[in-house]
Symmetry: C2
Subunit: 202 residues, 2 copies
């Protein structure tokens, strides 16, 4: 069999799916080998540092994917609402319609957390700041924007957890649908949903 050269990006995609399935600690070299189709030696050829090296490469790889699916849509031209709607579509792709665990769950616990926690912290912080910028550009005040941005990330992460445990992508899809509203507030055309702001009942 000739050397069926597998592109590095493809290897990283397969690696990520193994880590997403088993978590960092649970992803043994045997499972990684099975999941990627690469033998142990091939794995160590591509990632001399072993699992740690693989995880680092995955994080760098997902950062690139994040630029395509998340940061790009947010920075591209358009109204804030349009950009957030594109972001929602990008998140849908990035998280495989809500079936994929978030990276914090995979690399933020145990020894992996000690090793990669700071990287994840930086990534999440940067994303929150980015979302807050968009909210500010839509006219919200700085403090309100920061809170909404954090709430939006909280909702996305929580939806991934709940979707997984319930075996349904519905929570994730609902959060994505509400993302523009969560981040920017109710739009000018579609009135605020049954949000009971003036009732005197108690």
């Amino acid at each position: 069999m000739p050397p069926a050269t597998v592109p590095r990006a493809e290897i990283l995609d397969r690696l990520l799916s193994v880590f997403r399935r088993y978590g960092y600690e649970g992803a043994s070299l045997s499972r990684i080998s099975d999941g990627t189709g690469l033998g142990r030696s091939s794995l160590y050829h591509h990632f001399p540092g072993g699992k740690d090296d693989m995880a680092s490469a995955i994080l760098a790889h997902t950062e690139a994917a994040s630029r395509d699916h998340i940061v790009g849509p947010l920075l591209a031209p358009g109204t804030p609402r349009e950009r957030v709607e594109r972001l929602a579509a990008g998140l849908d792709a990035f998280y495989a319609q809500g079936t994929a665990s978030c990276l914090v769950e995979l690399f933020g616990i145990g020894e992996a957390g000690d090793r990669f926690g700071e990287t994840l912290h930086a990534r999440v912080s940067a994303l929150i700041r980015l979302l807050a910028d968009v909210a500010v550009q839509s006219g919200l005040q700085s403090e309100d924007a920061a809170i909404r941005a954090e709430d939006a990330i909280v909702a996305v992460q929580g939806a991934l957890v709940v979707s997984r445990v319930l075996g349904s992508t519905r929570p994730f899809r609902r959060v994505l649908d509400r993302l523009p509203e969560l981040l920017l507030g109710a739009g000018p055309i579609e009135a605020a949903p049954v949000r009971n702001t003036g009732s005197l009942l108690g």
Copy 2:
């Protein structure tokens, strides 16, 4: 039962903290032994089935704790708002002010997920139904109540993830503060959800 040197409840608490620190796969018997102060043989004496047995016992143990901190406050007498406020206090205790990972992160991934996923699914589903009941009792329509209940759980789970990765309990505390509003809608007196709880990114 002869006098046990360490009460079973205490053992389970220590066990849970080890699993919360390392996750299921990462919690090796050595680490469990260190974290609990029990030798290997003692552990197998208390849990003949090994790690699987320990995790099962922890899940049963947390179900009891859930009755004290979560279900109890929700079913105890009082207005829906009072009950949800008590629930928030119970969640605060249950999740150690937001510093503890949720069980879905620990036991819902990898082999542990195959083994305990159904249990977690049942637990989360039951909790969502319980929250929806309270929302209905506060006057919300059934569909709205169900959605709000799910959103509330999404927010709590997401806040735990984000709080951990940011190294700050603020997201979790903010979600608990907003929990009555999330679940029941804005109250009759304070209508504006705009709330200044401090600067972001701690």
